[in-house]
């Protein structure tokens, strides 16, 4: 069993560099209004202001930023991730039998 949340993700070192369109971007005005909800990401091709995910506690652990699911490409990335998870879980289940899956009554 795995908790999959497509709404936000940890900001990997290269994601924002290569694919800023995957994330919800804010404006200077957004930052002025609610600075706790946004974070600057420095890039060679210009800094980005990205929106945090909704859980303040997670922001202390990592930079969880919101994904821009209005973009079809972002949805495809998330579905690709989910497909990889399903494949890995099936492999694990085949290897370990029931021990790898939740016990069901």
């Amino acid at each position: 069993m795995l908790d999959f949340v497509p709404h936000h993700m940890g900001l990997g070192p290269s994601r924002a560099q290569d694919h800023p369109e995957y994330f919800i971007q804010g404006s200077e005005l957004d930052m002025a209004r609610a600075p706790q909800n946004y974070t600057w990401v420095h890039r060679k091709r210009g800094d980005l202001l990205l929106a945090y995910g909704p859980r303040p506690l997670l922001r202390r652990l990592a930079r969880y930023v919101a994904t821009q699911l209005r973009q079809s490409a972002t949805q495809e990335v998330m579905i690709g991730e989910l497909t990889r998870i399903a494949e890995a879980m099936r492999r694990r289940s085949l290897r370990h039998g029931d021990a790898g899956a939740a016990r069901c009554l």
Binding site: H7, P54, L69, Q75, L82, T83, E87, R90
Partner: protein, 208 residues
Amino acid sequence: MLVLPDVFERTWGQRAPLFWPRAVKQVRDLFPEFLFMAEAYWDLEWTLQQQGFNYTYDKRLYDRLREQHARPVREHLHAGLDYQDRLARFLEIMTSPAPRRRFPPKVHRAAAVITFLSPGLRFFHQGQFVGRQKRISPHLVRGPAEPVDADLNRFYDQLLEILREAAFRNGAWAATRMCSGLAGQSLVRWISRLVVAGARTAGGSWSL
């Protein structure tokens, strides 16, 4: 839930296309045995079921059980079976408060009988059968040693034994109504098995 178009729009002021029907279909085409369960709140259970989830959390039953009023619980169990069969029913989840603050011992047993002898997915939490009290972060993947609550453990042993009976695995479920005795309380029954759950309050009346 957060990526449903209406919720996304409320959060970000932008409308996103549907995500889950597309995601569920693509994954299920490749891995038909893969199950989707939604951590659903805000009355979005039915919406998420319609978008392809096999099961959705039934936080409403849990909340009503915690309030310890029988009528709202009964009313919840009168919902259509096409909906109830796809609810994941639980007494503990990772975000719930420490067990002692949730249910007094007698109420816990009555709540467990209602929760796990109702239709839907029976969703047990790690440590629930032995009465663990510490909330463990799922990120930690370990926890402190705690004493086993032997009474509770015996109760769950009995409950699991009952759940192995064919009637509770494959039988047909229906809510029913008592004509006398418990003041018209409606009860639940499976074919050939009748389930009664209650806890007497200090004043002598039945609450749950």
